[in-house]
């Protein structure tokens, strides 16, 4: 935040901030299909290419399935490649998401999180992202347009690192962020490329050095390949942290992998991400003045899960209210993140009381008073066996 003040910020929504990052990263190939609320990302990139501000090939594919398929093959041919999607598009990509991580493709995708059909809803929640949780991608949540811009740059730096070679998703809230204008500092190509120089896929498709990519793995080999992915994603955590620190040194903006905001003296934390974290940052000082000693645990890096830091921030608290904007139907907690937190609690022997809250489904409105209600629920710390479906009409 500090450095933002000293540089000239431009008014950009998160979609346009991401398009600017793609331009500054001198991405070679964009392969994308339009879907609300991602569309203005690819519209803006198209504009950059049309005006000659970004020299790139834009593949106008006929579906998201093809968008990701072409992005993968472009990346393994050696080009820095980008795609963007949301909702049904991310669901249609599902098969190919696993292939991108299985083939260890250094690819970056932005996701303007949106609810899933049926019934069809173009509005925000995080059902799409949580549906893609176990596909082997690195997943980061951004909570401001600036963070989205910065995270895309950071992501290319770590995914192209030979110690990582995994695809990454930068996720942010559809509409609440994608179409909301904020001040954003863009750094320009020279500085961005200096920070994240292109490192081409090391085993690229080149007739001078033939390779076979994507063979069939019999039972003697499949398991090891998948285990290598486990090691790769776990091993990526310190590199993601390292890149964030380097980024902070270079540009004066660092985010860490999980953030505890106003946690001093707070026995109760609200764990959330993206725009809800941004809203809480605005509201918490006031809530505290009103006597609610509640902190914010903002999840930035989701995969790999920042367990060590999570334990550090939660080992001495009494209540952890986990806000989920996705539903895990029929699960012990109906919130997917709450389930994971419950697992982490048992694994690490933590003592806090879990309050699982589902909210904002299909962009059900969450106002100041609703966040206050959540803060109160966290602060009061009543034991609740069941997930609270906040704001639903029974």
């Amino acid at each position: 935040m500090q450095a933002v003040e000293s540089k000239r910020a431009r008014p950009l929504n998160t979609n346009h901030a991401i398009a600017n990052a793609v331009k500054d990263l001198d991405v070679d190939v964009i392969s994308a299909y339009p879907i609300t609320p991602q569309t203005t990302v690819v519209e803006k990139i198209s504009e950059f290419v049309a005006k000659g501000e970004l020299e790139a090939e834009f593949i106008h594919v006929e579906s998201e399935h093809s968008a990701l398929s072409a992005a993968i093959s472009s990346s393994v041919t050696g080009a820095r490649t980008f795609t963007a999607t949301a909702s049904q598009g991310l669901a249609l990509m599902h098969e190919i998401l696993h292939i991108a991580s299985g083939l260890r493709v250094p690819l970056v995708m932005s996701v303007a999180m949106r609810s899933l059909s049926a019934p069809i809803s173009i509005w925000n929640d995080q059902g799409d992202l949580f549906n893609a949780r176990d596909t082997g991608w690195i997943i980061l949540f951004a909570h401001t347009a600036q963070e989205a811009y910065d995270s895309i740059i950071q992501a290319y730096k770590f995914v192209e690192d030979e110690r990582v070679l995994l695809p990454a998703i930068i996720a942010y809230d559809g509409y609440l962020m994608s179409h909301t204008i904020e001040p954003v500092v863009t750094e320009g190509r020279e500085k961005v490329i200096k920070f994240a120089p292109k490192r081409h896929y090391p085993y690229r498709l080149d007739p001078q050095k033939p390779v076979t990519i994507g063979p069939i793995a019999p039972p003697e080999y499949y398991y090891e390949t998948k285990y290598q992915q486990v090691k790769a994603i776990n091993g990526s955590l310190p590199i993601i942290e390292e890149v964030d620190k380097d980024f902070e040194k270079e540009f004066g903006r660092g985010y860490g992998i999980i953030e505890c905001y106003m946690c001093e003296g707070a026995d109760s934390l609200i764990m959330t991400n993206a725009s809800y974290a941004a809203s809480l940052k605005a509201f918490l000082p006031e809530f505290r003045e009103q006597g609610l000693k509640v902190g914010l645990l903002r999840l930035r890096l989701y995969r790999p899960f920042p367990l060590k830091k999570f334990v550090e921030y939660t080992s001495n608290i009494k209540n952890l209210l986990v806000v989920d904007r996705a539903i895990s139907y029929g699960a012990p907690y109906q919130g997917p993140l709450a389930n994971e937190v419950a697992g982490a609690k048992v694994k690490e022997g933590l003592g806090f009381n879990i309050i699982s809250v589902v909210a904002g489904i299909g962009q059900r409105r969450m106002d100041h008073e609703d966040f206050y209600a959540l803060a109160r629920m966290a602060y009061e710390g009543r034991k609740r066996e069941e997930t609270v479906f906040y704001g639903v009409r029974e």
Binding site: E62, I72, S75, V211
Partner: protein, 321 residues
């Protein structure tokens, strides 16, 4: 504007290079004609080639980790996305050339290879996208007329009357009851520079079509449908693949033609057609058919031949002899 002049004609197999690019040791069935097609294809294409393969027989039988039968770069990611995958490679090469990451004069041919399931059914959308965008890729369909890799289930390319494991012959069903999808015409409807049908029983015709398809990449995509008799799925003796292949053309079941810049030309005219019985009787997948049913199929073939002749503007495939 025929591209014929530019291409060196291959008159016999001796005109093909001796170098092997698709090498031995693969796991295709004994008598499988896919190997013959791939070997010819790669000889024509040469080393400056990238192969993109759909999931299917060729993919599983030639790249069983840690082995590979390909001496050129080979890429596979899924079943239904071969067109898009090929487009991604072409775009990456183009972008990297423009930006000086790879030399501007580097020549790389991108060839997509898919079976009928991966092409006419599940991969049709992705193929159509690739063709419509005009991406310079030669798409080679090896058409064995069913999902052979998963155990002989019918596809959109399965011909009328054929037994498959999902169109078995019984009292109610008599094998496949719908006609084979005309994928070459669908490809041609995209207005691409070159479309052809080929058959491994006519290797120089097939090789020339591969060569012309590659030549066309200077202008846009090309599409070659190659008939691929399948000993396992069509239920014939492994020694008979080429014989059956030849009969497919001699009976008018699988006419050999090309559509070069919209110009339709039958490349192997048949003066006197053999009865379709000659083709059907060697294959177990048609063993359930009665004489009546065979005659019905003959009528369907007669109609198909009439259509071809009409398209050619003259009688290029003659009457039953």
């Amino acid at each position: 504007m025929s591209s014929e002049k530019k291409v060196r004609r291959i008159k016999s197999l001796f005109d093909l290079p001796r170098d092997e690019i698709f090498i031995s040791g693969h796991g295709l069935c004994a008598g499988c004609t896919a190997g013959t097609i791939m070997r010819t294809l790669t000889k024509v294409a040469g080393k400056d080639t990238i192969i993109v393969n759909a999931t299917g027989c060729v993919e599983v039988a030639t790249t069983r980790y840690p082995y590979s039968n390909w001496l050129v770069p080979w890429f596979h990611s899924a079943f239904e996305n071969t067109g898009a995958s090929a487009s991604g490679i072409v775009a990456a090469i183009r972008a990297m050339k423009k930006k000086g990451i790879i030399p501007e004069d580097k020549k790389v041919k991108v060839i997509a290879v898919g079976g009928d399931g991966g092409t006419v059914d599940i991969g049709l959308q992705s193929l159509s996208g690739m063709l419509e965008r005009g991406d310079p890729v030669m798409y080679v369909l090896y058409d064995n007329e069913a999902y052979m890799n998963t155990g002989i289930q019918r596809s959109g390319s399965t011909p009328y009357g054929a037994w498959t494991t999902t169109t078995p012959a019984g009292k109610v069903w008599r094998g496949e009851w719908r006609p084979k999808k005309d994928i070459a015409s669908i490809a041609a409807a995209h207005g691409i520079p070159y479309v052809a049908t080929a058959n491994p029983a006519y290797p120089s015709d097939m090789a020339n079509k591969f060569a012309k398809g590659l030549e066309a990449l200077e202008e846009g995509p090309s599409f070659i449908q190659v008939l691929m008799p399948c000993t396992t799925g069509w239920r014939f003796d492994p020694s008979l693949g080429i014989t059956i292949s030849r009969l497919a053309t001699e009976t008018g079941v699988f006419p050999l033609y090309e559509i070069d810049h919209g110009e339709f030309r039958v490349t192997f005219p048949v003066a006197k057609r053999k009865h379709v019985r000659e083709y059907l009787k060697l294959q177990g997948r048609f063993a359930h058919l009665t004489d009546e049913e065979v005659e019905h199929i003959q009528k369907l073939i007669d109609a198909q031949v009439e259509k071809i002749n009409k398209r050619a503007g003259k009688t290029v495939i003659g009457p039953l002899g």
